[in-house]
Amino acid sequence: MKKTLIKIVSFIVIAIFLFYGSTHREITSNLNNGKINENENNILIVGSTALQPLAERAADYFQNENPKIIINVQGGGSGAGLTQVQAGSVQIGNSDVFAEQKDGIDAKKLVDHKVAVVGFTPVVNNKIKIANLSMQQLHDIFTGKITNWKELGGNDQPIVVINRASGSGSRTVFESIVLQKGENVLKSQEQDSNGTVRRIVASTPGSISYLGFGEVYGKGIKSLTIDHTKPIASNVENNNWKIWAYEHMYTKGKAKGNVKKFIDFFLSKNVQKTILSKMGYIPLKDMEVEKNAEGIVQ
């Protein structure tokens, strides 16, 4: 009798604790309470894995010129970058998407620094004979309306769609342009990094995926033209190639001190003209059009 009573009471206590914990987010997260010193000599950059190699390279050059400042660039994904910069635990959060596009982020508190443009291209296994797709055909493949290369004039071979992980920057960008809003996508295989996608497309017959311009290299893989437009920088600059996005560096409030110094360095002619194009990104200055968070191009 006493034992069951103790059991019941402890069960209720645990339930109350868990209910309280689950309705009060601040207990288990560190949202909004970090304090970051922008003049500190240690700058921590976290986020997008697409921007990471570029940021690392730029940080190397920057540290050569400013040996006192130590810059630490980490991956983790755009979501992690936005979360941590909003929480104040890092100075810069890298993101492939606008902060407005992510739930749980108060975009008003963050300042956007667009630092580069990246174009995405559909890629296929290079045994596939097709070299061009129309935007409509691409749409039909990724919504599952077309399932065999035969329907597009290729060999009789099922199409293996390989997507990036749901919520990843590349996928968000790709879907925002190729698909209509709210449209159901084909549930396909998902992989979580550019490298894996490249390897899998190269080795899997009949596979299709998408990669940033700078990521298309190596054997067994080729990019496609869309409506006979080539996936090259000059076509992105005038928006003839539609699938592109900005790479963002977000700061909490206005960038100051060493953080501002680094972002300015990143936007300087030196970095934009040399490193960017070498690594497959497109300098901001070359863009003839602009895109806002709603995806409207001007």
Binding site: L18, G21, G79, A80, D103, G104, S166, G167, S168, G169
Partner: protein, 311 residues
Amino acid sequence: MEQNELFKQLTKKSVASKKDIFGKYLSLSALILIGITVVAILFFVISRGLTTFTLDKINPFRFLFGTDWQPNNVDKNNNPLVGALPMIFGSFVITLLSALVAAPFAIGTAIFMTEVSNQRGAKIMQSVIELLVGIPSVVYGFIGLTVIVPFVRNTFGGSGFGILSGIIVLFVMILPTITSMSIDALNNVPKIYRESAYSIGATPWQTIYKVVLRSAIPGILTAIVFGLSRAFGEALAVQMVVGNSPVIPQNALSPAATLTSVLTQGIGNTTEGSLQNDVLWSLAMILLLMSLVFNLIIRKIGKKGEMKNNV
């Protein structure tokens, strides 16, 4: 006067007893620290996992039994599409099947090593198994990606990524775990059982099958459940070969997703405090609760086994 002095001397704590107390408190504080850590982790994961249902107002049944997993999308009634059944199903199917395939091999190896082979053969096998246990899971994943996936693709068709590849990789991964624990279980069977069986004229095979294996059943079951729980929590190797498609698989070749693979892929792409992030915590909560269930099963089996030995 003298008596008083003597009394003091005798009741004073000696160096040894001081050390004794110190040691006692040291181990006690270690215990408390571990206890706090465990409680904190449980509280953290479970309360985060429950947020989906309390703050985001997701119906738990829709979460557990829904089959549509698109956390970034909503259905016609504006309900987020967060049906976790495909991942729960995928995790269970891959785990159970791989344990089912691994168990006979593991038990066979264990019998060979404890009952059949000579000392040298057993020693060689022992070091092979220890080597297998030590291989990091990412290496298994790589082997799966470069050997098993093309093999499955060329023999059975499809893309090669799918349940079958996941089962094969997990099979190799949990085989050493189950084997080494089965060996312990067989070694724990008292020698007198075997001697009695031989003395009433049983053949070696009869002894193994009717006596040794039977009395080692609780231990072997424990070994299999341990293998299950390792397979259930494995993330990296499975994620690399399973295809990560959150649908309920049609057959053994179709791509699937597991709780772990969705977690590792999604956590960096979501922002804290968003629904997309909360549902991942809910998946983590399911994983945690499942490993608790596995532990409970192991303890239940252990208790039953004890009783049998006493009778």
